[in-house]
Symmetry: C2
Subunit: 255 residues, 2 copies
């Protein structure tokens, strides 16, 4: 009954029954959205906040030339900008990558949810993590070689997926085509393909038919220069939550 969004927020802050009830109510009516549909477009009047219950989406910007840059991947449990409503126009679009279950929370309802201190804390924390990811992307694009960059993104996606229980041992279902990944990494699909081959030949990871397999976690961490503390370990959470998290993580790959 508990959807992935709620599961995720529970890791961000301690939520009481009241918080949870409000959250459940806000997310009780998801819509089914097919693949490749824009949830909102650059230039639109912003406002609603979207929550992915199932399926993947991406934020992106289009260049005049028609190429696009992906700004973030949204996986099940993820939501997006809480306050974009303060801007006059969306500066990016959001599009589904797979058939999805999406909740659209109107600005007003967001404000209501934020009246719960626990929820506000959880949602702001989630947003801080997302911002941290953006910073890491900037650093990746600016200072990492393409191989490091690819490996780093895969580590990020793997860990994020694991945090919401989407992994199976050393593998994750990643419904991202090479074109999509290339658009997020600031490189060509052709070149990405060659880098993926390198990583495969290195024995670090494999990407096949929408599935990412971490062949050698240690190698991946080294190649990517992936910071162990990146993402979840940066969260400031209560001891109880941490304990639960430790249990959930034990037995999984030592990434």
């Amino acid at each position: 009954m508990e959807n992935r969004f709620i599961t995720k927020l529970k890791r961000m802050a301690e939520l009481n029954d009241d918080d949870l009830k409000a959250l459940a109510k806000a997310t009780e009516k998801p819509r089914k959205i097919p693949t490749k549909r824009d949830l909102i477009r650059e230039g639109d009047r912003p406002g609603p906040c979207f929550v992915m219950l199932e399926g993947w989406a991406c934020k992106y910007q289009l260049m005049p030339s028609g190429t696009r840059q992906i700004l973030a991947f949204m996986m099940p449990g993820d939501s997006c900008d809480l306050h974009v409503g303060l801007l006059a126009e969306m500066d990016h679009s959001i599009q589904t990558i797979t058939p999805s279950l999406v909740v659209k929370i109107e600005q007003l309802e967001v404000v209501e949810l934020m009246d719960h201190p626990g929820l506000a804390k959880a949602m702001y924390t989630a947003q801080m993590v997302d911002e941290g990811i953006m910073r890491a992307w900037i650093t990746s694009m600016g200072r990492r070689t393409s191989r490091e960059r690819v490996a780093h993104l895969m580590c990020e996606l793997y860990v994020r997926a694991r945090n919401v229980g989407l992994t199976d041992q050393d593998s994750v279902t990643l419904p991202l085509s090479q074109a999509l990944l290339a658009d997020s990494l600031g490189m060509t699909a052709v070149h990405l393909n060659r880098v993926l081959r390198e990583l495969r030949e290195l024995g670090a990871m494999e990407l096949q038919r929408g599935k990412l397999v971490i062949t050698d976690a240690k190698k991946m961490v080294i190649v990517a220069g992936f910071d162990e503390k990146y993402l979840h370990r940066r969260l400031r959470v209560s001891p109880e939550i941490l304990r639960g998290q430790a249990e959930r993580l034990s037995g999984s790959a030592p990434l």
Copy 2:
């Protein structure tokens, strides 16, 4: 008497006397900081929010190899992440670029300020604009040629500076060395230097002794693919504020 931070926030939302008083109180005791001092470091316990009243600073991350990626430039009037305190560790550092006047607002005081709805709106709006800049940087690094990227950053800095009254006709004082700019653009200082020469020879702009001169605004906008609506025009502000803004902008370069 009114510092640049207050001036900036007044453009973001309508502030009443009470808001302004609280803001003035919070920023009444700036500290003088010399050049090249870290205000906070990666790994530190986050919490305080910094406001630049005078001088420039930058957010950055260091790579194991010692190279760094600059994540944002902070100019007079700018402040930084409101909610980083929710993370367990800073994931980036902030360093002054010039001697500066900096206000350090403790987490608790930030919360108090946010109790004023007007201030909360203004500060969240400022943060949304900053996030929009980060998205633009990602897109720049991923999809723009180095020439476009350089031109785009210069347009961004020029317009931001103009918004807080730091420009003089077609020029701005930019205390940014080529090494610094290169670190923010994901390129080498050597290559940046060549690109700057190209732009100079193109007659679009010149960068000399810490001063940026927009030689031909129209050319710059074209080379950069700079979106007129980027930054300030994206702000959703009240008609009165817009009117004041229009007056302030009239007569300035048609960027």
